[in-house]
């Protein structure tokens, strides 16, 4: 055997030993088991009453992934400080990704800027320009506003007054109101934008003796205000997709809703969060569908499966 051959066989023997140690022992490395990632979902409300369907979608997306879901609700609805505290806490906990439904988009950007966090952030329900978000999933607010206005026009008399409640809850709401008013303007429909809370609007409605329609763009406010001010002369329309909203619609408290596809919002949100964790790559902006539902169409087959997802 030549020296070259001897050298070659020696190298092969060393490689063999190395491969054996690598494949059959823990000498060099231990077989990595899939790590469980923690993904925190920070709501903007104190309960999941209006987000159950979205949660179902999230759980479906996470079913085959090694993910520990951490649903966080606030102590009070729409409490900006609390949400900030929760976000900071999750950042300091170094979770793998955060899905957040921001109360105020700009404020979220500031927090992220300040903390310098590199944790992937997935924004749900907001279409603003979030430079630090890995992905944004939201309904087309223009279409939501347009469809809601069209629904009102299709059901109400032309001269009937319309109130549009503006709770100053961010750009999304403003955009929907703007689009709805454009539709009313086109049809010559009288309307009034009421800036204030649902409660304040209720006080105005109490004094109102004429029949009117009220458009509310926040689901919780819609249900609560409609319930508190149920009368024969006032009809309520708004944005909503939860079983509470459906029940309000069914018992006539509200007359029509435009329901965003909350299941898919949750599903896509979780899918993008998992993609971020796995460094697969994200879709920056995802639009979800919505459906217009009235009392008579709740139990239509298509609406039934849309509003009450089976699994």
């Amino acid at each position: 055997m030549t020296r070259f051959e001897k050298g070659l066989y020696s190298i092969a023997a060393i490689i063999l030993v190395f491969l054996y140690l690598l494949s059959s022992t823990n000498f060099f490395s231990t077989e990595s088991t899939p790590e469980i990632s923690t993904i925190s979902i920070i709501s903007k409300e104190k309960d999941d009453l209006y987000r159950r369907t979205m949660r179902k979608g999230m759980e479906k997306a996470a079913i085959d992934a090694w993910v520990d879901l951490n649903f966080i609700t606030l102590y009070d609805n729409y409490n900006l400080e609390q949400q900030e505290e929760m976000i900071r806490q999750e950042i300091s906990n170094a979770v793998d990704a955060i899905i957040v439904m921001p109360i105020e988009g700009l404020h979220l950007e500031e927090i992220l800027e300040e903390t310098g966090s590199t944790i992937p952030i997935i924004i749900l329900g907001e279409s603003g320009d979030f430079s630090r978000a890995a992905s944004q999933i939201h309904p087309d607010t223009s279409l939501l506003g347009r469809d809601l206005a069209t629904l009102v026009l299709s059901q109400r008399f032309l001269d009937e007054k319309i109130y549009l409640l503006n709770e100053d809850q961010g750009e999304e709401m403003n955009q929907m109101i703007t689009i709805a008013t454009q539709v009313f303007d086109e049809q010559g429909k009288p309307y009034e934008i009421f800036a204030g809370s649902g409660q304040e609007l209720g006080e105005v409605l109490l004094k109102n003796t004429e029949s009117c329609s009220v458009l509310i763009f926040n689901e919780r406010t819609l249900v609560e205000t409609a319930k508190a001010n149920k009368s024969a002369s006032t009809v309520f329309y708004g944005i909503g997709a939860s079983s509470t909203s459906v029940f309000s619609l069914e018992d006539g408290t509200t007359s029509g809703i435009v329901a965003p596809d909350m299941y898919m919002m949750g599903y896509y949100g979780m899918e993008q969060a998992i993609n971020s964790v796995n460094r697969v790559g994200n879709e920056k902006d995802i639009l979800i569908n919505h459906r217009t539902v009235t009392q008579n169409t709740i139990f239509d087959k298509e609406n039934e499966v849309f509003l009450f997802p089976l699994n």
Binding site: S23, Y263, M264, L307
Partner: protein, 600 residues
Amino acid sequence: MKNQKFREKLQTKIDTMKIQTTVFLSFTITTILVVLVVITSMYSRFSSELTVNTQQEKQILVDQVKRTTDTYLRNMMKVGESLYSNVIKNTDLTNNSIRADLQLVLDMHKDNILNVALFDANGVLLEAAPAATIKENCKVQEQDWFIAAQEKTENTHFSDPQIQNVFEESDPQYTWVIPMSLSVEITRGKRTSQGVLLIYLRYNSIQEIVNNTNLGNNSYIYIVSPDGQLIYHPRQYLIEQSVEEENNEINATYQDGVYQETFLHKKRTVTVKTVSYTGWKIIGVSAEPTFAFSSFQSKIFIVFVIVLFVFIITLLNRVISKKVTMPIQYLEESVLGIESDLDDSRVYKGGTYEVRRLGTSIQGLVRQMKSLMASVNREHDAKRKSELDALHAQINPHFLYNTLDIIVWMIENERPDEAVRVVTALARFFRISLSKGQNKIPLIDEMEHVNNYLAIQTLRFKNRFTYSIEIGEETESLESLKLILQPITENAVYHGMEFMNGDGGILIKSWKDADDLYITVADNGLGMSREQVDRLMSKEPVDSKTGSGIGLWNINERIRLTYGENYGIKVETEPDEGTTVTVHLPAVDYKQEEKKNDTF
């Protein structure tokens, strides 16, 4: 251009490849190929068997789901039927309530049943458990379960899953249910009428039956109604919102069995089982199984096994090829040694039988070659020496000086005719000596050469002897070696005639006997002693003081080298009586032989 150069280099490498390398590469490549073929075929066989087994296991699981669903539905039907036959049928609803019985059934099956209710033919609620009222907007008579029960009174009906939207709930849950309805006979006093018994089965029960069965990775079970509507699918919402797709409408048309289909460009196996009573189809979907090593260590282990295999194979082949080819290599080295030095004739004779035989043969060949070369060398040496001797004889200064002296004496004594004769003889003597450098000449020329020589010598020796040449008629055209007779004659002149006083005689005679030619040179001189003959026949050069110095051994050797061991010269001598030298040659026609040589 580069390609061409590379090919040439490769070809050169292949051409100069050692036998050991060739054997090693052939063994290794063949072994690896064979093992690959075996592994591939075994993998193919085992994987197909595994696929079949896996599919069978999945079929069994799908069948289990079907049986469980069947059992569940049968139990629910029994509940409905026993409720009807034991309670409703036997109760006059005018004065009696069956609510407690309905509640009892509900309590017993609360995991599977959400509501139990009895309606009259107009859709009016008669009894319900739990106690409930009909929703304000609900039109019972328009419900599909009610219509189905009214239309086919003899059957129990299962409708498609739907949200419970008949009974009021204080806290609306919007629960998914599967309505089971059957037509019943209601007794009110003496009157009987048709009614409908509704049992809302919890959808979750069906969901759990399927969820409790795990078909494995990339496999799932779904349930479809006979018209292709999804009853249950693990990703039902995504399908209904067109985010994902399912082949439910086609699968619903399949009979019970196993089908291979391609859906969304992916091959999959579909197992279909039909549930009794409902016609629902339990569909088991499993992706084409792929056998891959998922973990990093498993992949590395495969690499390790392959490298180990190649390592062992190459090592073994190295040893085997060396064992097989080393004797050939040793043999080659022996031959190379012989090539450089023929005297180093030790040939390797080890290894296998064939190699040993080859070694022995080569050894024999070398021996023969050496013998042949020795013969050639000897012949060459003899020829060279003979030619040198002949040349020496031709220019023997003594002979030439004496001859020229005779010529001068003849001219001075005004004997020009004799001088001319001597000069002519001398000239012819030299012409034949040259003979265009040929080794063989006709016997007649050889005889003439001797004649010229003797003609000069008789004059030199002042007629102390006479000579006679007798050429046999048949021998003139026969072949003779050049210059073999002149040295013999020279010996006869110098050793036999020197002391003769006019009565000396030399007789040269040739004749043919069968295939042999004989030439004798006989003298009647003093004869020779045994020692003188031996000296003449020995290898040692003879004293050239008076003669040409060409030994008889040399002539004898030339004849034997040219014609073989059977030919040569023989010396017969008797002191005071003379000497006879006989030359024995084969009788070969000179012209025919020359023609033959020209042809070759």
